[in-house]
Amino acid sequence: MIPAPFDYARPSTVEEAVAALADEDAKVLAGGQSLIPLLRLRLAAPTVLVDLAGLDALRGVHSDGDDLVIGAMTTHASVLADPLVNRYAPLLAQATGTVADRQVRHRGTLGGSLAHADPAGDLPAVAVALDATLEIAGAGGRRGVPAADFFVDYLTTALEPGEVLTSIRLPKRGEGWSTRYEKFNRTAQGWAIVGVAAAVRRENGGIAEARVALTNMGTRPVRAAAVESALTGASADAETVRAAAGHAAEGAEPTGDLSASAEYRSHLARVLTERAILAALGQAHAA
């Protein structure tokens, strides 16, 4: 189909973008990989599209002290290729590598993925697992929102109308940390039925700290708190991991759809959590 008519703005600064978004029915256009299908199906019909493609300042990755800062308009392909990301946030790189196909990864952006907040999207859970802060600009100035608070509901975030997500700030996780994104999908380039983003820090052979977040186990990414606490301070053996992973679906409220029932999703969350943690620990899963 063809989208309904709309006006088009192409600002070159964040301030201009925010100004262009003053119209109530305006919408930001980033890579267009999620938005354009919605426009074509006429499920969305904004009056103005504010294209961020001209905002070079929102593209690229830089180091800022203990943090890594990634511009919202950085494409998935650039994230994947970035040496800083691969060094300090390999979980993000690995998960990004599972997003869609090459063509989509060359247009889709990290900021777009997070702002879109699709429960089946891979990167929101990663942002939660890595304790990211989402940096936002609006008419009232700039603010930072922790990932845990950013994702509100199905396709709904803490972004207010008129606000632009400008960058994603991640604490660098170097020495001692190891991570794994375990994605289960029906086809190689399909969306996740369930995904598990796991990061563990080892100390003296045991697990000192663990962060686990789940994709598509609810309308927003879910922190697997019970798994984390069962792992913290525990030994890094397969039995312990299996027992801890058994708690993965606790508190999650997955839905059923054509590709999986809620019950099966909960089962997958447990199996994949075990596999993700074992893989992060450098142990192949039992299978």
Binding site: M1, T187, L258, A287
Partner: protein, 789 residues
Amino acid sequence: MTVTEEREVGSPRRRKEDARLITGRTMWTENVVLPGMLHLAILRSPVAHARITHVDTSAARELSGVVDAFSGRDVADIQGGLPCAWPVTEDMVHPDHPPLAVDEVRHVGEPVAVVVARSRAAALDALAAVEVDYEALPVVLDLEAALADGADLVHADKGTNRSYTWVFDSGEAGTGEAVDAALDGAEVVIKRRYRQQRLIPAFMEPRSVVVDPTGDQYTIWSATQIPHILRFLVSAITGTPEHKVRVVAPDVGGGFGGKLQVTPEELIAFVAAKRLGKPVKYTESRSDSLVSAHHGRDMIQDIELAARRDGTITGLRVKLLANMGAYLGLVTPGVPILGAFMYNAIYKIPAYRFECTGVFTNTTFTDAYRGAGRPEATYAIERIMDELAVEVGLDPVEVRRRNWINADEFPYTTVAGLTYDSGDYEAATTRALELLGYDELRREQAQRRDSGDTVQLGIGVSTYTEMCGLAPSRVLGSLRYGAGGWETASIRMLPTGKVEVVTGTSPHGQGHETAWSQIVADQLGVAFDDVEVLHGDTRTSYKGLDTYGSRSLAVGGIALYNACQKVVDKAKPIAAHMLECDPADLEFTGGQFRVRGNPDNGKSLADCALAVFAAHDLPDGVEPTLDADAVYDPVNFSFPHGTHLCAAEVDTQTGRVAIRKYVAVDDIGRVINPLIVEGQVHGGVAQGVAQALFEDAVYDADGNLLSGTFVDYTLPSPADLVDIVTDRTESPAPDHPLGTKGVGEAGTIASTPAVVNAIVDALRPYGVNDIQMPCTPERVWRAAQGGGA
């Protein structure tokens, strides 16, 4: 005497059409742009069954850029009805099928109203201004419930949801014994119900049509597989004299049977063009395509197999419920009936009964999809052969071997009444087992079972045959099909010795231009590049029966071969005249006529072509042309066969199925171009695997198509498939001068049961004997938790 020196046939030529097809720099219907051309948009029903109580297109007509807007009521008297060319029984219920719904809609996606505008965007925008009120009617979806007494009706005026019941009984037909007796006295009876889920052909190029009324001529460009049938039927339906209708199928991007149809959209575009006297284009979106282009499969198969304890089959009874959808398309009722001849497969079965009931539901109508009836049949028999193997304690290969027709028994007349031409099932199977490493994988399977590995290994066997080369016209007539099964070819010798071939087949991705050029190059002794193959335009190719049912090479190839012989026959007296010898002393090799015993003195076909062009010095009474036409009506179907083996790993914790190795050994007779054959097998296997694992067109309880986009209609990509190991054995077709059979559907037919058999085989220790397709991870996981799914 003609001695052909074969240089081209058998060589893996790259396809000459691919450069333009792959780059898209060619004439797709969507690329047709005509002066003054208007664009049509179609408003489709959002509900599965309802009475249309009110339609108003007047607001849409007022919008800028809009030229016309109308509903079914406005054109009810002139739009005609869509044809069904295969009334399988005398009393078949055949409801009216108006292109635009008039009083009632019967499936989601049914066309209700149209807008014609100066741009596509304006037409689409204006759809929102068309007012339609619907009064809901009960929705019929379940095949068994639809046949119950007092069921809600899809077509109230017909008083039933049953379209037909068609029966073949070997006892009655005299081709075998009565099946009831076989089943009653059997040592072993296995009874199963299989479900063929609904599939969507999902061709790459969406359907597109342009209708240009110029003077009293109508030119229709359409992304169709069947330009000739379309011309005939448009003429019949609209009352336009046939010579005033020209159909062009330019390059067409895939069909898989999905474009073997006369569509509502084609007729709607015709009506609009006629109303307005202007060219009109309609190109569907992918979403429209998924919901409105005909679907495939969708059957419930009840199958009963009787056998002795030693594994010998004594009888087979098949009872089908086939979902027609809301209407009958071009060959809808006939699709399951093609399967009637294939349930007995490659086996010697003494007693057989097949019964099929076509049922109406409030869904998109079904029709041909790659294999059409034959994949469904092969699936059911090959699945139940594995069950028989388990029941009698034999290896699945051995149980097949005990029942199949042996190489020395051909030609073999089956219990379904067909005569299989040639084959060697043992040879193909032996080769496939070697290539797979069958024994070694069986050992690995045993180890994994013993150790309780969470990843289990299964091996699926599928031995198949199919009927290709549709079809002997007499057979089609006896099955009440509305047309014949012959095919045509014409050869035009140009004065410079170049060759134009006109074929009545209508390629839409199969590579006819290449294969036909190879055949002509050998038969006429001209260069491959000196042959141009023309197709798909009823002005150049005025006669033909198009492309489907693996018929093009198997039938059209013979017409082509015969036309070549006629050209040579015509040239011979001319060459003899130039060489001043008796035609009887000439032989034709490598494009040269030579006097036998005098290899130095010759005349080429090009010399003859130039001679007839000038026509200055021809023998008396010789017509100055080398051009020739041939029409060939096959004497029999051809019966390719093969053995496909699939080794699959099943993760019992997640239900994920990973194909580890896939072997396809096909026997399709002689091969014209191995590269094209390889492509057909790969594509076919991919589609068959997709039915086993991925694809499913699902309706909700209200008749909404849930899998209406490619996010939910799960097509695999290359990353989901493995390298397919292919090989061939060769049993030439005795009825074909080139020995070829057909390969267009083989992969699709063989692969689905191979994959499902592998998964079930992997999970036998878990008590599993069936898994409903598509075998999604969740279904497989549930099965591994304890029995069926």
